[in-house]
C-alpha cells in the first residue's frame, strides 16, 4: 500500500509541477487531471474509497471537463501559448516561490511536530459512515451546500449569458 502511495504521490507532485509550468492550457489541464487522479489513488490508500470515487467522478470527470470546455470555447491558439511563454518570465518566479516555500516549511513543521506520537488508529471509512454523517450531524451543511450549488448555477447562468450590444 505504501508503494502505491509513494508512486501516486510522486505522480501527483510531478503532474502538478507540470501543470503550473506549462504554457499550453490544455496540456496543463491534462496534467492537472492526472494529478487529481493520483490524489484519488491516494485517497484510496488512505481508506477513503468513497472520496476517491468522488474525486474521480466529480473533480476529474466533471469540473475539469468544464475547464476543458471553456478553454476550448476560448480557443486561444498558438498566439496565446507564445504570450503565456513571454508572461512566464523567469524573474517572476522568485517571490511567489519564496512565499510558497515559507508556507510549505511552516506547514511541514506543524505536521511533523503537531501530529503527535502514536500510530494512526487507521481504518477505512465506509461510504455508509460518510452518508450517515452527511445526513445526520451535517444535514444543515448539506442544505447550505445545496444552496451554494443553486447560487452557483444561477450565477453562472447569469454571467454566461451573451449580452447583446443593446443591453450594454
Amino acid at each position: 500500500m505504501m508503494i502505491v502511495f509513494y508512486i501516486a504521490a510522486v505522480i501527483a507532485v510531478a503532474a502538478t509541477v507540470m501543470t503550473i509550468t506549462l504554457t499550453h492550457a490544455v496540456h496543463a489541464l491534462l496534467y492537472l487531471i492526472v494529478s487529481l487522479l493520483a490524489v484519488a489513488v491516494i485517497f484510496y490508500t488512505l481508506g477513503a474509497p468513497f472520496a476517491a470515487a468522488l474525486e474521480a467522478i466529480t473533480y476529474a470527470g466533471a469540473i475539469m471537463v468544464l475547464f476543458v470546455f471553456v478553454v476550448m470555447m476560448l480557443n486561444l491558439g498558438e498566439a496565446a501559448v507564445e504570450q503565456e511563454r513571454r508572461w512566464l518570465d523567469r524573474r517572476m518566479w522568485g517571490g511567489p516561490a519564496l512565499l510558497a516555500a515559507a508556507l510549505l516549511a511552516e506547514l511541514v513543521y506543524t505536521f511533523a511536530f503537531g501530529i503527535g506520537p502514536g500510530g494512526p488508529s487507521g481504518g477505512g471509512v465506509s461510504p455508509h459512515a460518510v452518508g450517515a454523517a452527511l445526513f445526520g450531524p451535517y444535514l444543515l451543511a448539506v442544505e447550505i451546500a445545496g444552496f451554494l450549488l443553486l447560487a452557483g448555477l444561477v450565477g453562472a447562468y447569469h454571467l454566461g449569458r451573451r449580452r447583446t450590444d443593446a443591453e450594454e
Partner: protein, 320 residues
C-alpha cells in the same frame, strides 16, 4: 496461492481479450444486422457470412500510415483515442460476469464504473480539440456538454439500485437480485440508465458529437489508421459495457434457471447489445437542443422522482 494468482491472471487476460474481440466482432455483427433490418446484405464477401471482414478491416487499419495532421496538437491527438480504450477496459474490471469470472471485487464498484465513464469524456473532447478542425471542435464541445449532462441522470438512476441494496459492490447487487430483478422495482431507473448509457456511448440516436451529415464524423474526422480503430473499437466496447451494466444492475446478472451462469450472462448481454443496434437502425437523430432539453427537462425529473419514490418506499417498508 500460486494457483490463485494464475487464475487471476487468466481472468484478467480472458476478459480483456474477450472484450476486445467481441468489440471487433461487433463491428461486423452490427453491419450485418443493419443490413438485415434495412433489407440489404451488409459485408458478406470475406469468409462465411463475411465474418472475416473484421480481420480485413483490422489489417487495413493496422497497415495504414499512422499519420498525424501537421496542424494537430500532436501529443493530445495521440493520447485521446487511447483514453477511451483504457477507461472502458478498466471499467470492465469491476463487472462480475459469473461468481468466478470477474477481475476485482471492489466495494465501490459502481462508483468506479461511473468514474471511468465520466473520464471517457476526455477521449472525445480532447480528440475533437486536438484535431484543430472546426467540425471536430464542435463535435468535442457537443460531447462535453452531452456527456456531462447525461452522466448526472445516469448516476441518479443508479442511486435507486444502491438504495435498495445498500451497497456499491456490484457482486452484492447481483446477489440481491436472485429473487427479483431490479428492472421491476427500478423500471424508471432502468429506463433512464439505458438512455443515458446510449448517450454516454454516443451511439445513435445520441451520436451528435460525430453526426456524419452535419459534422463530417465530428471529433474523429482527422483520425485514421489504428487511432481511428481505437475510437471505433472503444465505442463498441462501451456498448458492451453499458449492456453488461444493465444486465448486472437490473436483470439479475448471471442468475437464471438451468443454464450455467456464464451462459445466462451472455444471453442477456447479447440481447441488450442487439437492442442497441436495433435502436440505431430504428430511430432518427434528434437536434442538439432537443437532446439537451430532453435530458434536463424529462430525464432529470424522472430520475429524481424515481429516487424520491424509491427512498420513500425503502424508508417506509424496509427501514434499513
Amino acid at each position: 496461492m500460486t494457483t490463485a494468482i494464475w487464475l487471476h491472471i487468466a481472468n484478467v487476460f480472458g476478459i480483456l481479450i474477450a472484450v476486445v474481440g467481441a468489440s471487433a466482432l461487433l463491428t461486423w455483427i452490427e453491419r450485418r444486422m443493419l443490413g438485415l433490418w434495412q433489407d440489404r446484405y451488409g459485408p458478406n464477401r470475406a469468409g462465411p457470412f463475411g465474418i472475416l471482414q473484421v480481420l480485413a478491416d483490422m489489417l487495413k487499419l493496422f497497415a495504414k500510415d499512422d499519420w498525424t495532421p501537421p496542424f494537430a496538437d500532436r501529443a493530445v491527438f495521440i493520447i485521446a483515442p487511447a483514453i477511451i480504450m483504457v477507461v472502458i477496459l478498466l471499467a470492465f474490471a469491476v463487472i462480475p460476469i459469473t461468481p468466478a469470472i470477474g477481475i476485482v471485487d471492489m466495494n465501490i464498484g459502481l462508483l468506479f464504473f461511473l468514474a471511468m465513464t465520466s473520464l471517457s469524456v476526455y477521449s472525445v473532447v480532447l480528440g475533437g480539440w486536438a484535431s484543430n478542425n472546426k467540425y471536430s471542435l464542435l463535435g468535442g464541445l457537443r460531447s462535453a456538454a452531452q456527456m456531462i449532462s447525461y452522466e448526472v441522470f445516469m448516476a441518479l438512476a443508479l442511486a435507486g439500485v444502491v438504495m435498495l441494496t445498500g451497497t456499491f459492490n456490484l457482486r452484492e447487487i447481483v446477489n440481491a437480485q436472485s429473487g427479483l430483478w431490479f428492472v421491476v422495482p427500478q423500471f424508471f431507473g432502468f429506463l433512464v440508465f439505458s438512455i443515458a448509457g446510449i448517450a454516454e456511448a454516443h451511439r445513435l440516436p445520441f451520436d451528435l458529437p460525430e453526426a456524419e451529415n452535419e459534422l463530417i464524423a465530428g471529433y474523429h474526422t482527422e483520425y485514421s489508421g489504428m487511432k481511428f480503430g481505437m475510437f471505433f473499437v472503444g465505442e463498441y466496447a462501451s456498448i458492451i459495457l453499458i449492456s453488461a451494466m444493465i444486465v448486472v444492475l437490473f436483470f439479475g446478472g448471471w442468475h437464471g434457471p438451468w443454464l450455467p451462469p456464464i451462459v445466462w450472462f451472455l444471453i442477456k448481454l447479447t440481447f441488450f447489445v442487439g437492442l442497441f443496434i436495433l435502436l440505431r437502425a430504428a430511430l432518427p437523430r434528434p437536434r442538439y437542443d432537443q437532446l439537451m432539453a430532453y435530458g434536463w427537462k424529462f430525464m432529470l425529473p424522472l430520475a429524481l422522482l424515481n429516487l424520491v419514490v424509491t427512498g420513500a418506499v425503502t424508508l417506509a417498508f424496509f427501514n434499513g
